[in-house]
Amino acid sequence: MVPVMDSLFLQQVLNGLITGSVYSLIAIGLTMIFGVMKISNFAQGDYSMVGAYTAVFVMAWVGGWLGWVGSVLAAAAVVGLLGVVTERLVFRPLMTRWTDIDMIMVSIGLFILLENLAQLFFGATPRMIDDPFGGRTINLGVASTSLLRLFCFVFAGVAIACLELFLNRSRMGVAIRATSQNRFAAQLMGIDINQVYRLTFGVGALLAGVGGVLYGTLFAIYPMMGALPTLKAFAVTILGGMGNIRGAIWGGLILGVAEALGGNYIAMEYKQAIGFFIIILVLLVKPSGLFGRKEGA
């Protein structure tokens, strides 16, 4: 069946872009951490989960669109801090003697720990973030969407723009990029590598936390929700090339749209598997990802 350019198609593309922008945000954090520290962090989705719960509490306390914006800021702060703490306690000790397997395993340990702690503290009942716009929708001519979803999209865009600004304009931002390109040379510039690690992990987690608020706005919030964003973020990251931030942006949008279209035109039941189909296909053709560089000589 060939999708036609009807309004349903465009509607799905819009939906896909909105979810995709959230995937991008979460995946950028993952890809940054990988780029600088070569850590594949399976707990990334749990940072999003913590961000989402932070929003639940802030919304219950403040409410309204002010509360929603406040949620994002609070999630950024809480999860950023969580990232810094986990980097110091869990990942840093392994940096000098790490293997791929150790790093992945330890992050899986963190994943199991965080989601079960959440289960313990927040209970298993799914939560929702209230819609500060009271469910109003907006018609964009070719397609329509709720004001809230549009807001999420814009917010993801703003967050990504802020990150780009930070990485391109600030002294430490450029230091992070430099370290991911050549750690040894970065050390010779007088960059404190441990400070870069701390900052990278903090920012990477923060992005996942903010992404989590948006994710929680679009979907349900429950302690075990972290697995999906983790897997999606990995799919996106592999599509975009591990460590490649621009790649992660495109990868997220591609995955979002592919899921929306695939879910609608192929099979709804397999919507969650579309990302995997794509990455297995991509990896079969190009083992370093769609936008990835070939590593080594």
């Binding site: 002294r171 050549n182 040379a185 050390q187 010779l188 960059i191």
Partner: protein, 235 residues
């Protein structure tokens, strides 16, 4: 200015430096010669705080700096230009240079140094906005040196600056190094394979073999020493 005493460094089981002692005085250009795998890069990395010393001391103006984190060492003005044109490929030339001045807070000083560096390397000025990864080998090496200069070095350590460059570019690099030494008066520790040139410009030189210093003298004396050719060729 820099004193190294009985330094020992190992990678796991493999001892790279056995017992190295050497010194660099202010205003000198000291050359370190040695064949592939002799431990020259290891020595520089250890001075820069990237490798750990198992034993021995590194003194900078009388202070022990061995096993300090690299950023602390760099803050003292001990700057290394690494081997193999290790620029940041996805940063622009300008950003690479800015990274060179990472530890500096004197914006005006950096700006005027940048002008000086551009005078020294006019090509870099033309290519300011270009990504460093797109530079040619010679340009990348120029950038690596320029980046080192922007750190306002008190001691500049150059690791095989001419490695893998075509003869014409090699000559250009040599001229720049001499210029930096003579005109700017920066103290230099040079690791170089081109023995003839490196000995000619050196005030003093050391020969490092299999992790040990085997000879030490003034550059001229070593160049005149009939053993050196053989020593360098390892006869």
């Amino acid at each position: 200015m820099l004193n190294i005493e009985n330094l020992k460094v190992a990678y796991g089981k493999a001892v790279a430096l056995h017992d190295v002692s050497m010194r660099v005085e202010e205003g000198e250009l000291v050359t370190l010669l040695g064949s592939n795998g002799a431990g020259k890069s290891t020595l520089l990395k250890t001075i820069s705080g990237v490798n750990r010393a198992l034993a021995g001391r590194i003194l900078w103006k009388g202070q022990e700096i061995q096993n300090q984190p690299s950023h602390v060492v760099v803050n003292q003005g001990i700057i290394q230009v690494p081997e193999g044109r290790a620029v940041f490929p996805d940063l622009s030339v300008a950003e690479n240079l800015r990274m060179g001045a990472f530890t500096r807070r004197d914006e005006d000083g950096v700006a005027s140094d940048l002008e000086e560096v551009f005078e020294l390397f006019p090509r870099l000025k033309e290519r300011r906005q270009q990504l460093a990864g797109t530079l040619s080998g010679g340009e990348a090496q120029m950038l690596a040196i320029a980046r080192g200069l922007l750190a306002a070095p008190k001691l500049l350590m150059l690791d095989e600056p001419s490695l893998g460059l075509a003869p014409v570019l090699r000559e250009a690099i040599y001229r720049v190094i001499q210029q930096i030494y003579q005109e700017k008066g920066i103290t230099i520790l040079l690791v170089e394979q081109n023995a003839r040139w490196a000995l000619k410009v050196a005030t003093r030189a050391y020969i490092l073999e299999n992790g040990r210093i085997t000879m030490e003298d003034t550059g001229a004396a070593l160049a005149a020493n009939p053993d050196v050719q053989r020593a360098y060729l390892g006869h």
